[in-house]
Symmetry: C2
């Protein structure tokens, strides 16, 4: 269910930008490939009420979704791993636009230290703990090779982040208080590959 929230948010944002004031569960469902039942269920679970015959008020919906997604919060994030993926993350303007502020990027390879990526310089892993603490970093993004993923997760947890976005294939283990979300592009491509071969349809 949580996975639908960013999609509602994005679509409702677009509606608001276009000056649309009301939207029905039916329309929303159609646009996002869901059933209207699911949409109503989802919203009522946050006690967000609509109005019979009109639907849901776009402005209010947007406010609610922003609140539960923390879209009004500005998060401080670090990226670990300065490969192509890490580099792309730092440069991706979408993140800042959505309140994810990348404060630093780290890599274990001394060759990379000091290299400029956007307005950041690649820092050595030894600085991680200090940066996270002093700059009050909220989340870490793991963009390192699989074999290093767990130890980087441990470092991040020890340093004090509250959440981790894991982009490696490895399953990482963390204490219960740490939120973890996995996001694996190669895995998505492999799922797609499987679906193409065996003609299953939409997954994810």
């Amino acid at each position: 269910m949580v996975k639908r929230l960013p999609r509602y948010f994005s679509y409702v944002q677009a509606l608001a930008n276009n000056g649309v004031e009301w939207v029905s569960s039916i329309e929303l469902a159609k646009q996002l490939g869901l059933t209207s039942s699911t949409v109503r269920q989802d919203f009522s679970c946050f006690s967000f009420s609509g109005v019979s015959k009109r639907g849901y008020e776009v402005a209010g919906l947007l406010r609610m979704l922003a609140d539960i997604l923390g879209a009004n919060t500005v998060w401080k994030v670090v990226v670990v791993g300065a490969g192509n993926l890490g580099r792309a993350l730092v440069l991706h303007e979408d993140f800042v636009r959505n309140g994810f502020n990348i404060a630093s990027i780290f890599d274990s390879d001394p060759e990379k230290h000091g290299i400029n990526i956007g307005s950041l310089k690649v820092l050595p892993m030894q600085d991680l703990a200090e940066v996270v603490k002093i700059e009050n970093i909220d989340m870490g993004i793991i963009a390192v090779p699989d074999t290093a993923a767990q130890s980087v997760a441990d470092l991040l947890v020890d340093a004090g982040v509250k959440g981790i976005l894991n982009m490696s294939m490895t399953h990482i283990t963390t204490p219960d208080r740490i939120a973890v979300t996995d996001s694996r592009i190669v895995a998505s491509l492999q799922q797609l590959s499987h679906c193409v071969l065996f003609s299953c349809r939409r997954n994810s």
Copy 2:
């Protein structure tokens, strides 16, 4: 379920590289954060049998997973959108290593045409259909702004791709025969943000 296959594959690959010959559902479950029941259920669904007391043969498991994920197939892929994300995808060596060969990258912005990204040159959208047909492209990756996503999807489908990896926030509609997988990094970060705020744990 499909979403677990790439993770099994990656882990079993690592086992094979380390010369491990047998693995139990219990060990696998522990490493991937699942229950042994799920693991056995999954494998038996592909009629892959283990041996009591020993577990599953790593080599055979690897072969099976490679088969169902199409990991032995070399796929030809195009990327649409030459922003930071598109650029990163082209440069990301993980793709080639896993059999996803990026043949071309396209962008609608004339300013970008001809620019070099790795060994590729950014092509205009007008060339998309022809390239997909002549080079027998299997899949397209959508890395364009949300507003353009659906029309790019239509172009890709018309041109004849069999699968689409959608990295935009938009829900795209395609004919039934086309496989679609969504992969949204910002959405993952927003899920994480929600989980940090309301202390839910692992999702995805």
